[in-house]
């Protein structure tokens, strides 16, 4: 342990103490000898650059050398997770959020109710009435692929979604993504989401996601290649392609026997 904890974890009871010992011993099985200097050098070599291109470079450096088949799925997750974590752990944001700003990530799980000493008298003033934020209507959303990057057989698409409606609306943090072509064919179909959160998008505000895809071995696709999102109510939003002839989101065929992969990261400001 080389650094201070920002917050102490809740104390363990006797079972948890034993469990922690056992799990930590079990976890030692994940440790392998490493060459820290080599890892640092590789990280530096692949981490240099800027923006999304850096992320693609990271995949090319590590995954390309190691020959792993599926690279793209993991490339951006840590950034998103790290960014989420960063908000409460002293990390500076990469860039200021443009105005008008959204966005709250709203856990759908109800928070636990803490024991409390409730006041015995009713509040004197009634709370102000707040209009509920409704789910985004398909007609009020516009999405566009703004970039495709890739490495080691995968492609990473950056998609910007705008709430073109007059009021704020709510969207699941992750939808089911699809890689689609200009003829409307679904080239790779993603999984239904399991992410518990949602995002609220102010009127006129934008959110961004990255969509990873890999291993397309099907028939020739028709330009342009883009991304679609299937919402939980069955609505489907097709993002405008980067350009009318763009095919750069189409991943290489890594193995005809293997399934294609497409997945998205949570919408974020």
């Amino acid at each position: 342990m080389t650094s201070q904890r920002p917050e102490r974890p809740e104390p363990f009871d006797a079972f948890e103490t034993r469990l922690a010992t056992r799990v930590t011993r079990h976890a030692d099985r994940g440790v392998r000898p490493i060459d820290a200097g080599h890892i640092a050098h590789e990280a530096a070599a692949t981490g240099r650059g800027s923006g999304v291109a850096r992320r693609a470079g990271a995949g090319a450096g590590f995954l390309g050398r190691l020959g792993w088949l599926v690279a793209g799925a993991a490339l951006a997750a840590g950034l998103i997770g790290g960014a989420s974590w960063a908000g409460s752990h002293g990390l500076l944001g990469a860039a200021p959020t443009p105005s008008p700003t959204l966005v709250a990530v709203v856990p759908t799980e109800a928070p636990s109710v803490e024991p409390s000493t409730a006041p015995t008298t009713a509040p004197v003033t009634a709370p102000p009435t707040v209009a509920p934020i409704l789910a985004c209507a398909l007609a009020d959303l516009a999405a566009r692929v703004t970039a495709w990057d890739g490495a080691a057989g995968n492609r990473i698409g950056t998609v910007v979604l705008t709430n073109t409606g007059a009021v704020a609306c709510k969207l699941q943090a992750i939808e089911r993504p699809q890689l689609v072509d200009g003829a409307g064919t679904v080239l790779i179909d993603g999984d239904d989401p399991s992410h518990p959160g949602s995002v609220e998008i102010a009127a006129g505000a934008r959110v961004t996601t990255e969509v990873d895809d890999a291993n397309y071995c099907g028939p020739a696709a028709v330009a342009p290649v883009s991304v679609a999102f299937v919402f939980s109510n069955g609505d489907r939003l097709v993002a405008a392609a980067k350009s009318p002839t763009d095919m750069s989101g189409l991943p290489d065929c890594l193995g005809p026997g293997g399934p294609g992969l497409v997945q998205m990261h949570p919408w974020a400001p």
Partner: protein, 182 residues
């Protein structure tokens, strides 16, 4: 490995790493790679995937370490990045079924070389119990009992409220008590 960095020296090491000093960055790798791998292993259940997750994390750390305001937050940040990589890999590989997690056979072959039979059985019970958990519970288990995260910190990684994390911890402990015969 776990080459400990003196807490007094840590801010300078982090600052040099943020300035692009590979030697300083290597000290961070040496100090934290194994911690990150432990957490990643419990999450994804495979030592190769765990190492892959941590190796994917380091270039991101390289790019972002300059944004770390408080070096005291370095370790939980690193663990969070690795945990997210491990979760992503676990989702991907689990769905693609490239490789099943060989908990029973793999562990049996490895632990057969050491320890008494009671310890070996207990370890296999634990490994099988972990393998039966879903990804969120494995993540909570790793972050709470290996990394020592609070419910709030865990919540940031797994995308739940801190209250939701506490509720899941309670259910997780009930389940493990039963499965581990405690």
């Amino acid at each position: 490995m776990d080459a400990v960095i003196d807490p007094d020296a840590l801010p300078a090491v982090v600052a040099r790493a943020a300035d692009g000093d590979e030697v300083a960055f290597a000290r961070l790798v040496a100090a934290h790679h194994d911690d990150m791998a432990r957490v990643a292993y419990v999450i994804c259940g495979d030592p190769d995937l765990a190492q892959e997750a941590v190796q994917l994390a380091w270039p991101k750390v390289w790019r972002k370490v300059g944004t770390l305001r408080d070096p005291g937050h370095l370790r939980p940040w690193l663990v969070s990045v690795a945990a997210n990589e491990a979760r992503q890999l676990a989702r991907t590989r689990g769905r693609r079924q490239v490789r099943e997690v060989p908990v029973g056979d793999d562990l049996g072959s490895l632990v057969a070389r050491r320890g008494d039979p009671g310890d070996r059985a207990a370890e296999m019970d634990l490994a099988n119990a972990i393998a039966g958990l879903d990804l969120t519970d494995r993540s909570i288990l790793a972050l709470r009992y290996v990394a020592g995260f609070s419910s709030l910190e865990i919540a940031e990684v797994v995308g739940l409220s801190s209250g939701g994390v506490r509720a899941r911890i309670a259910r997780l402990l009930d389940r493990l008590r039963r499965e581990l015969h405690e």
